[in-house]
Amino acid sequence: MKVGILSNQYIYILQIKFMEKLLVVNNVSKVYGDYKALNNVSIEVEKGSIFGLLGPNGAGKTTLIRIINQITLPDSGSVILDGEPLQPHHVKYIGYLPEERGLYKTMKVGEQALYLAQLKGLSKQEAKERLKYWFDRLQIGDWWDKKIQELSKGMAQKIQFVVTVLHKPKLLIFDEPFSGFDPINANIIKDEILKLRDDGATVIFSTHRMESVEEMCDHIALIYKSNKILDGKLIDIKRQYRSNMFEIGLITPNHAAISASLMEKFEVFPATFKSINDELQYKVKVPDSVATNDFVNYLTSQGQLTHFVEVIPSASDIFIETIQKN
């Protein structure tokens, strides 16, 4: 009896722990022959967030995504979806847009979308209604009877996107979702992803396009050479990577003297930004010992301060810097 109660409590605690997390990956490893694709990787994805899974080519991202999709099984470690260990029936809660993607070329758009939706467990009627909604929404209704081979790549990508989200999955996994789209359509898809998130879906997002990471992700993890080397909220990571660097513009009669004294006191890097003044432009690294206000006071005492901005590390900078460190 006692054991029973204990284990019930344990499960309860586990449930509480996982309640806010839609997906928990625990110490997952995967070896292909002599090649270690993943080494003890753990991630936690919060409900309703957009999670950026980053890393250079061949780092192991796709292997991790395939494990979450149950395409391959991990050698060790566990995956928990919505509080339950991953099971075959979970596929209907996941929508996956793989990087290597395509559709049956000789099948008609409508038939194909219906087929794929039914494989995800929708009834034919339900699938039809939802397809109509999405086709109207993306204004692609008149493609229904066309064969995929008659469509352009971007058009086929739109169909692929609809098919991925049609069964209203709790977890959406997009691997390079914007490749093949022109900027207008990429924006449409981006807005749709954000809307899906607002409607309650959780998104895992794997891409090399850092500007979209910057725009969309709440949380990122960086995988490099089969290991996770960085993980956290994007804003926290940015704070962690801030370098107390400031971009300044200073109008002063004596360029040379001021420059010399700046360089003597601080680490100074050249900077260029758009301005209508003829001014000194520098990036200055301020040591921790100097308060920002003191630095500003110093600058105003030297001339007229026209520009003062903290340099925030971009996702791209963080990506490159972290990988170079490892």
Partner: protein, 435 residues
Amino acid sequence: MNHLSLIIKREYLTKVRNKSFIIMTFLSPFIFVGIFALVAYLSSLNSDTVRKISILDETGLFADEFNSSPHMQYKILQNITLEAAKKEAEIEEIYGLLFIPKTENLEDLSKKITFYSEDSPSLSMMSDINNMLETRVNTLKLKEAGIDSETIKSLHIDINTNQETFKGKETSKLGSGLKLIFGGVAGYLLFMFIIIYGNMIMRSVIEEKTSRVIEVIISSVKPRVLLLGKIFGTTLAGIAQFLVWVVLILVLMTVVTSIFGVDAASASPSQQIMENSIDGGTQQVLHDVMLEINNLPILNLIVMFILFFVGGYLLYASLYASVGAAVDSETDTQQFMMPILMPLVLAVYVGFFTVMDNPHGTVSQVFSYIPFTSPVVMLMRIPFGVPVWQQIISVVILFGSFIGMVWFAAKIYRVGILMYGKKPTYKEIFKWLKY
């Protein structure tokens, strides 16, 4: 299971709606019957031509033996030299010249008879001429020995051994012939079916990879279910096509034979036997054939034909599917085709040589248990009477191997899809099994 029926339905519909599939379904019987009619027509033309052959017989012993037939006209030459006869033959466009020189005795004759012609004569015509000469020489020799031909004829007795099993069931040579025909047709049918539709399954398994839809599909269904669905769907399309072929060919054949007469129909072996039998004498033979057919274990044959046909086909289909699973494109399949075709060809050889020779010998028995050869070999053995327990064991092994093969193919598939653009080796495939 819902997934399985969805996949089967899709596979079936895609195949059946495919334009080239439809064209092949309806065109093939026409091509087949067309070629058949052409051959029948040409050979009827061929047999209409009359061949003239002149005979220069210096011995004078053979002149009466050569009776002209509708296809052969013989002309006996007399008082003319060989050279002159040759020249005459060329001028008069005579097909050939048979020269029989005068010799000391009949033994010497055996190697001295020569046939002259423009080009080399057909084998059947030469053996006809040889037979005629041989019969005549033999009769002459017997006469020399003091036995006249009438006595020889009256001494000749045809023996027809009656066959009966210990349990008193009558068997006959005719029955054995029928059994061989049944086994042969069944084996051949299976062989053709596997060759035609195995490739189709392989291509269909590769389809998901070339169109890159594989990862989307495989994130919804298990590879095993996908493979099974593809095998069943394609098979159903194959059966539909096969049925159309059979019906169309039967109809067209009836039309063609009614145009060309019985000649064309005589090319199919079963009818040939019927016809020979009718030629051979009476309707009695036809009656015997019907009786023999009734003597065969019909129910057993039909049930086992279906089981072995389906099982054998599915096993090979899953082999083809594993090849499709291992490669990226059709061009890479060559190296794996050989090991599939080998056991199939072996089965047909064992069936046609060993089983015909000795249906219950050790070799026949062993090969009727090995799943890759059992469909053909066992089907050929069953008409000769195989204990039911042996048949059941063989069927169980066959279907067990089919399930195992699908598992194997699914395993390869799961790994094979993740490796793009690389031609796998056997060693690598073996390694994949352990992933």
